[in-house]
Amino acid sequence: MQEKRNHKPLLYKLLLAVFCMFLFAFALVPLYDTFCEVTGINGKTGGRIRAAIEEIDTSRIIRLEFITHNNQEMPWEFYVTQPYIDLHPGEVKQVDFYARNPTDIDMVGQTIPSVSPGVGARYIKKTECFCFDFQPLKAGAEEVMPVVLFLDPKIPDHIEELTLSYTLFDITDRS
C-alpha cells in the first residue's frame, strides 16, 4: 500500500483560496468605482465639492452639451433649459433643469449623470447638483433644478467639447 498522505492541509488551503476569490469578486465593485474615477470609464462624475476659486483659463473655450433621458416608464417631464453652454476652464456657471410630475401620485426620482468622453468626467466639478439627492415631487408639482459647475483648469487640451447626460429614474418604490 502506498503511504497515506494527509490531504487536509492542501484541501484547506484550496478552500481558503476559493473563499478569497469569492470575496475578491465583491471587492471588484469598489475597485471598479475607483478605477472608473481615475480613468473615466463610463463617465461617472464625482460628488459635491466646495466651490474653490480657480484661476480662469480664458485662452480656451469648451462647449458643454446637455442631454436628458427618462428611464423606462418614468412619466415626468424632464428637460434642460439650455442645450449647451460655452465656458472657460475655471469659470463657474449655472444651468437649470426643469422637472414636472404630471401624474396624480407623489413620486421620487433620481437622476444619474454621465459624461462623454469619459476621460473628461473627472474635470467637471459640481458645487451644486440635483443629482446629489433624490428628487421627490408631489403629484402635479414642478421644479427648476439648478446645476452649478465649473471645469477644472487642469482639463487636457485635447478635450474641446463634453456632453453631460442626465438620466432620470423612477425610484418611488424604493424610497
Binding site: 500500500m1 502506498q2 498522505r5 490531504h7 492542501l10 484541501l11 484550496l14 478552500l15 483560496a17 476559493v18 473563499f19 476569490m21 469569492f22 475578491f24 469578486a25 465583491f26 471588484l28 465593485v29 471598479y32 472608473c36 480613468t39 473615466g40 470609464i41 463610463n42 461617472k44 428611464n71 433620481q110 444619474i112 462623454s116 469619459g118 476621460v119 438620466t167 429614474f169 425610484i171 424604493r174
Partner: protein, 526 residues
Amino acid sequence: MGDHHHGPAKGLSRWLLTTNHKDIGTLYLWFAFIMFLVGGAFAMVIRMELFQPGNQLVSPNTFNQLTTMHGLIMVFGAIMPAFTGFANWLIPMMVGAPDMALPRMNNWSFWILPFAFAILLSSWFMDGGAPNFGWTFYAPLSTQGPPSTDFFILSVHMMGISSIMGAINVIVTIFNMRAPGMTLMKMPIFCWSWLITAFLLIAVMPILAAAVTMLLTDRNFGTSFFDAAGGGDPVLFQHIFWFFGHPEVYIMILPAFGIVSEILPTFTRKRLFGRVSMIYAIVAIAGLSFIVWAHHMFTTGMPVIAGLFFMYATMLIAVPTGVKIFNWAATIFRGALTFETPMLFALGFVFLFTIGGFSGLMLALIPADIQYHDTYFVVAHFHYVLVSGALFSIFAGAYYWLPKWTGTMYNETLGKFHFWLSAISFNITFFPMHFMGLAGMPRRIPDYALQFADFNRISSIGSFVFGLSQLLFLYIIIQAIRGKGKKATDEVWDDHPRGLEWTLSSPPAYHTFETPPSEKLVEEHH
C-alpha cells in the same frame, strides 16, 4: 473495509454511493453525453427556425430561451463535465495512484450536477418560461428577467460548487498522490493541462458565484450593483462576468490541448515535440487569460488607453497558442503516421482549432472587432474553438481510451465514418457563419434579412447532418461497452504507447495501482 478489494457493488447503489474514480468518471462522461444531446437538440430547433427568413417554428422569446439554454448546457453541462470525466478516469491511472485523493467529495461533486441541471431545465415549465437573456446573462436584461432567473442562479451556484470540488480533487491528487519517481516535469501532459485548468477553476468559479449572487440580491433584496439608479453600473456586470468568462474559455480548451498532446505521439510514433515549452505555453495562456477579459466588451466604450492594453494583451495570446500549434506540427513532421479514429479527430482538432485561432486574432484588433462584435463571425469563431476544438478532442480522447476502459475495440470503420461525417458537416455548418457575420448578420436573432438566406440554409443543412452523426457515436460507444468488437490488448495501440495507463489490463481492475508502479516503470513511460 471488508470488500475493499472486490469489485463494485451491484445495482443502483453502485452508482449512487460510488467513490471509485472509474465509476465517477463514467458517470461524468455519460452525464456530459446526455447533456450534449439535450443542448444539441436545442441547437437543432434553432437551426430549423433559421432555415429560412420569417418566423416559422418558435416564438422570438422561445428562440432566445433556446440560445440561452443551448449555451449554458453545452458549456456547463457537456464540455466541462466531459473533461472532468476524463480527469477522473485518467489522472489516477496516469500518475500511478489508487484513486482520486478525496473520493467522497468526488461522489458529491458529480451528484450535485444532475440536480443542478434538473433545476435549470425545469425552468422551461415555470411561469414566464426559461431564462431568455443569453448564457452571458448581461444586466439589466437579466435583472429584469423572468421569475425562473432565480432558479437559474441556484443552478449556476450548484454547478460552480461541483466544478470547484472537482478542481480541488485534481490538484490534491496531482500534488499528493503521484507515484514515487514521477516528478512534476515527468508527469503526463494531460495531467499538466488539467492541473492548470483546476487552478483556473478555483480562481474564477467563485467569481461567477459572486456575479450570480449580486444578480440575486439586485433582483430580490434591493441592492443595486448593476442598476444605475442606485449608483451601480451595468457595465460592471460585464467586467465581473468576463473576468470569470475568459479564463472559463481556457478551462474548456486546456484539457483539449492535453488530450491532443497525448494522442499525437502515439499515432506518429514520435515523442511530443517541445514538451517543456508546451507546458510553459499552457501556463502562459492561463496567465494571460486573467488580463484580457475586456476584449469581450470593446463596444461598451472604454478609454483608448484601456482599449489598447486589452488589445495588445489579447494579441499576445497568439504567441503561446502559435507555439502549441507549431509544436504539434513538428510532432507530426517525420513521424510514422497511422490514422485510427482518435488520430483523425486529433488532426481535425489541429486544423480546425487553428482556424478558430486565426479568427480569434482578427477579433483581437479593436477597429475590426467593432464590425465583428456580436455577429455570426463571433459565433463561427467560438464554435471552431469549442466544437472542433474542445468537442473534437473529447471525441478523440473517447476513442483513444475507450478500448482501455471497456476492454473492447470500438468499430474502427464506423469511427472513421463518424469523424468524416462530423468534420465535413461541422464545416458546412460553421464556415458560412464567417460570411454571414462579415456581411452583417447579428447573432441571437430569430429572423434575418433576405441576403443572409442562402448561407443560413447551407448552415442549417450542415447542422442537421452534424446532429445526426452524433447518434452514430452513441451507437459505436454502446457497442464497445457491450463487448461487441475485437478484444483490446493491454497496450491497445501499436508500438508501445507511452503512459502508465497502458501498463494496466484492458479493462483495468476496479482498483488499480494500490501498489504504486515502480520507479523503473515510471521512467520507461515518461
